[in-house]
Symmetry: C2
Subunit: 331 residues, 2 copies
């Protein structure tokens, strides 16, 4: 366990200067504070005696909307907050950019703000802090990401494998044989997981795996516009989407082209956003219980703070059958 004395010795300064820097005192220069925080973070110092009586956690968010109840992240944040605040924590929600991560190491950021643990939402594999998470000793819980072998980092998410398998089984029961996938790019842990779940479900049920049935693209509307006709030309009769918002975009696209859902094409989303029940037709989708994910995220943080090395918590991802899936068209 790294102490204030260790940091002072390393920097050749007094313990009181280190303490001032860590406790955000005003009578210390900005540059000295920065030096102390960087060194402390590098040495793996954990600030357990924060100044004041504040118990502070943060939710760090990238690439995820959360401000309104219709947005994906909203209920995750709410579920987490409700449990944490009941336990007396102050929870701060901090949207982040990749640029910010490149300029400030995770350890420095956490010490600087006095956060004791973090819940991380929406990070891709390209985020630079993902590298730091491999070695951090700060209790850190990742939604939809996984870090091997670090007992200070836990993961929460849904069982993509089970969810995608239920979706493929449902389509097979409706007579579909050529099943496609339209997804965001595979620079995300979870999109990789869904892609592999799709392949393994097709394999399990003996369906054809064909790269022409798959469309990957960053921009939602553009990739939907490009891939829907391409997949239909290849005889695909049902498409899984990596997110509900992509399925919504497919509804618009199909409507523009006179393709009727589900008569001509069955589609399945992923997430079960609040508005899925009100689209035309209501969307069949794989549910993520986002409020529950937030609660599990907080539970995982309490485990890590208490020294219990939780690795992962997975929720079931049930298939919610609505009207966007129907019998395969007969030629």
């Amino acid at each position: 366990m790294i102490t204030i004395s260790d940091i002072a010795a390393k920097l050749g300064i007094s313990k009181s200067t280190v303490s001032k820097a860590l406790n955000n005192a005003t009578d210390i220069s900005v540059s000295m504070r920065k030096r102390v925080l960087e060194t402390a973070a590098e040495m793996g110092y954990i600030n357990k005696k924060l100044s004041g009586a504040e118990k502070k956690l943060c939710i760090l968010i990238e690439n995820m909307d959360f401000e309104t109840p219709n947005q994906f992240g909203h209920d995750i944040v709410e579920g987490f907050r409700q449990m944490a605040e009941t336990d007396g924590w102050l929870v701060e929600v901090v949207p982040l950019t990749m640029e910010f991560q490149r300029l400030t190491p995770y350890g420095v950021f956490m010490l600087d703000h006095g956060y004791q643990a973090a819940f991380i939402l929406g990070f891709s594999l390209l985020d630079s802090w993902m590298q730091e998470f491999k070695h951090t000793q700060i209790p850190t819980v990742l939604y939809d990401n996984y870090i091997k072998n670090n007992p200070y980092v836990a993961s929460v998410g849904c069982d993509n494998q089970e969810g995608v398998e239920l979706a493929v089984k449902h389509l097979i029961e409706l007579g579909h044989r050529k099943i496609g996938l339209i997804s965001g790019p595979l620079d995300s842990y979870i999109l990789k997981a869904r892609y592999h779940a799709y392949l393994s479900a097709l394999k399990k049920y003996g369906l054809e795996i064909n790269e022409d049935y798959v469309g990957l693209g960053y921009f939602v509307a553009e990739s939907t516009r490009a891939y829907i006709p391409k997949l239909l030309n290849h005889g695909v009769t049902a498409i899984l989407f990596s997110h509900d918002v992509r399925a919504f975009s497919a509804m618009t696209e199909c409507s523009d082209r006179g393709i009727q859902i589900p008569r001509d094409l069955s589609i399945i989303g992923f997430d079960d956003l609040p508005m899925t029940a009100y689209t035309m037709p209501p969307l069949t989708t794989i549910r993520q219980d986002r409020h529950g994910l937030g609660r599990c995220g907080y539970f995982a943080i309490t485990c890590l703070l208490g020294g219990l090395p939780i690795g992962s918590i997975l929720l079931r991802a049930p298939l919610i059958v609505r009207d966007s899936t129907g019998p395969a068209p007969t030629d």
Copy 2:
């Protein structure tokens, strides 16, 4: 949701008779009570209004010692109890036999005793209630077992894959190349998982997979006696054991045969039982945080009782390096 009226209608009896049976009233015959409970369980009835104010959970145990602090199940039970009792639950620990399971369906047993949820320890794939868990609607949490697609059943355990991989990596760093496994029989979900984790770790590190390096047997001492010389004859220099108790038995066996641990043979256990630190030599082993497993089991039950379909919680399984592993012998 099945009601008392549904059960009464099905049996052609009055609602009050059903109610008496479910609430364990004395003015009803044993045979009528049995008929009502069996029908109620079959119909998936959940008794939410239990008589009295009792909130009751059970821990059902088979094949696992738990009475004293040195025994494997002890801390799992304690971790569960501490959290559940703090929340006002009465927790009953019920050792079970396979015979009992064959005579009484799970649903009937739970209704009969007024338990609202169960934490299941030590069941093998052969236990007949495992079949019932596939369809039960009673909140049920399994330690070291997994049921697919049933949102009323969750699973807690350790990350066997990660733990076994750490063990194999440790042995490779010590120069071992022929690594064996001595395990209980594969009629257990978790022993299957450990066996496959062993195979996949060998594969990952490019080591030879050879069935002569593996010994599976039900009886601990007998199988150790048979397999240790066999594996040594095949040039194995390090052995993983599926449980610490098997590794303890190997220590006795090696001592009898004049085989020195770790000079002649490195051994690694699984569990990190309290006495592993005091064996001669102290045992290198893969830790299961049993108190933490109990706490996670209770958290999973609270999720299921609240309608959150938790699927699994996995703890990390860190490798605890002591003195039973050393450099591979040079011939």
